[in-house]
């Protein structure tokens, strides 16, 4: 059950997409999201699909992985669909009880659902092709200019790295404690909601205590290796923009600019 969580999962590979500078990838995904929200008709969606499809193909990602990412969000997509179908006013097509279904409602609902699906798949492309370390490196570099405004860029990136690093550890630990308590007769699977919540105490207390202990140990270990934050810290692999990075970046800016421009052209 805990193995189904795929947030931020990385699918290793050595394609062009994988090797692209993480900063570039973050910016491209930013452009992607922005254009997704600026699009106001169905037609430009073709180019969005083209973009997603090309990345999947080039990065050799298994389609199953992508679909798995959408699965947990089916519920939200359904709610979006329902709200848009029933709440949009317009030319009434038919009635379901007290609810009206309009032509505009169906149109917006489909539009919004697609937008959500593209949003999820698009952003998951970033985490699927970028290792967590590269990702946080990229974020740190991108946030660097804001340091002068007092933003602790390095610290934020370090926190993200540590958090990502400990997701599997915590999952494993949860599984272990759960089993240990089940061996002592604990029951996590039956009873009403109130009882179930109460039954979680033997799981959550040790989990938190161990997490704090681990945090303490990690802090000591970092201190022992003279970690003092980002000041004067050098790195083994400096991020440097290559020719491909610049070419991809430029073409993507043009690509998304064209997509957005459809907003102002009557097709």
């Amino acid at each position: 059950m805990l193995k189904d969580i795929t947030i931020g999962q990385y699918f290793p590979g050595d394609s062009i997409v994988h090797k692209l500078d993480p900063r570039i990838k973050i910016i491209i995904i930013g452009l992607f999201i922005a254009s997704l929200f600026l699009i106001d008709s169905f037609l430009p969606y073709i180019f969005i699909v083209l973009f997603i499809g090309t990345v999947i193909k080039v990065a050799k990602l298994p389609l199953k992985f992508i679909l798995k990412g959408i699965k947990p969000l089916v519920f939200i997509i359904m709610i979006t669909l329902a709200i848009n179908i029933f709440m949009t006013k317009g030319e009434v097509l038919f009635y379901i009880g007290p609810l009206t279904v309009s032509k505009e409602g169906l149109y917006t609902a489909a539009f919004m659902a697609l937008r959500l699906i593209f949003l999820i798949t698009g952003t998951s492309l970033l985490t699927l092709t970028t290792s967590p370390i590269a990702l946080t490196d990229g974020i740190e570099k991108l946030l660097n200019p804001f340091k002068r405004l007092g933003l602790p860029a390095h610290e934020l990136a370090m926190m993200m790295t540590i958090a990502l690093r400990f997701i599997p550890t915590l999952l494993e630990e949860t599984d272990k404690i759960m089993k240990a308590q089940m061996a002592r007769g604990a029951d996590f699977e039956s009873g009403n909601i109130l009882n179930r919540a109460k039954n979680l105490i033997p799981l959550l207390v040790p989990l938190f205590i161990n997490a704090f202990r681990r945090a303490d140990e990690l802090a000591t270990a970092m201190e022992a290796r003279c970690y003092r934050g980002g000041e004067n810290r050098t790195r083994l692999n400096e991020l440097r923009l290559k020719k491909t990075d610049i070419v991809v970046m430029t073409s993507m800016i043009i690509y998304f600019a064209l997509i957005v421009s459809t907003r102002y052209i009557d097709l």
Binding site: I177, A180, G185, P202, P206, I209
Partner: protein, 287 residues
């Protein structure tokens, strides 16, 4: 026969690229009153096997019958199985959660639905068995105890459920030598006094040699040896091949014999070695 394992197979992540066979056709029968050592290299399937014994994991194929209950059969009471087979995990002190030692040990018995008087009695008994003083410790928070004491509290929490079979997964990992010997002695006492069946998972050949009567050896998911302690440790080359070994003292006695000294080299503990060497010296003197 209290536990009967037949043709047990377990596969992690079946039908995916990450598929891994963790248990490969394992057959074991365990009788009531056995004191068994389970040894094997890291990743040999020990922990997977142990978690099958009380139904925390279900076999991919094969059967496990615990005191008449088939754990993979639908509708069989896993609760009852977990009552019969007590499992102490590695580093069990990480599972403590209550505000007092008393309450924490009471967690298991309470889940069994016992009344307060019985629970009280069981806590006292269990604490005595693991060498914890009831009066001075019962109201202390388990989190302020020492490492060795925490582990005793956790073991007491399982003993208080009065299982017929007690499985201990490396109960001495991470303890100092003194604490290790104490815990092992308490386990031995428990076996003698209560007469329960004990399965001890261990990495230490010395500990196993000192305590158990029968040894199960696992390698790559298969059960490769199942014999008395003495017989298993006779097969040193095979054990070394799978990353295990024999007790230091046994090794020493064997080398000593190889040098041309006429002694019995089938020795498991330092005590036995002492006796044998004394005998050897006396014989030499007389000759």
């Amino acid at each position: 026969m209290i536990i009967d394992i037949k043709n047990l197979n377990y596969i992690y992540n079946p039908n995916t690229p990450f598929e891994k066979k963790a248990l490969d056709n394992v057959n074991i029968s365990i009788n009531e009153g056995d004191f068994i050592g389970l040894i094997g290299h890291t990743g040999s399937g020990k922990s997977t096997l142990v978690q099958h014994l009380n139904g925390l994991m279900k076999p991919t194929s094969g059967s496990i019958i615990v005191d008449g209950i088939n754990i993979s059969e639908k509708g069989s009471s896993l609760r009852e199985v977990r009552h019969k087979v007590g499992l102490v995990f590695q580093y069990p002190e990480h599972q403590l959660f209550e505000e007092s030692v008393y309450k924490d040990i009471a967690f298991g018995p309470k889940n069994l639905g016992l009344d307060d008087k019985e629970i009280d009695k069981r806590i006292k008994d269990a604490m005595e068995l693991v060498g914890l003083d009831f009066e001075s410790l019962k109201d202390r928070s388990p989190f302020e105890l020492s490492g060795g004491q925490k582990r005793r509290v956790a073991i007491a929490g399982v003993i208080a459920m009065k299982p017929k079979v007690l499985v201990l997964d490396e109960p001495t990992a991470g303890l100092d030598p003194y604490g290790r010997d104490e815990i092992l002695d308490e386990i031995k006492d428990l076996f003698k006094k209560e007469g329960i069946t004990i399965i001890l998972v261990s990495h230490s050949m010395e500990d196993v040699a000192r305590l158990v009567d029968r040894i199960l050896v696992m390698d790559k998911g298969r059960l490769v040896m199942d014999d008395t302690t003495r017989e298993v440790f006779k097969r040193a080359p095979e054990l070394e091949k799978i990353g295990l070994g024999i007790p230091q003292i046994t090794k020493f006695m064997r080398r000593f014999k190889e040098k041309g000294n006429n002694i019995d080299d089938n020795i498991l503990t330092v005590e036995e070695a002492k006796e044998e060497l004394l005998k050897f010296l006396r014989r030499k003197k007389d000759a």
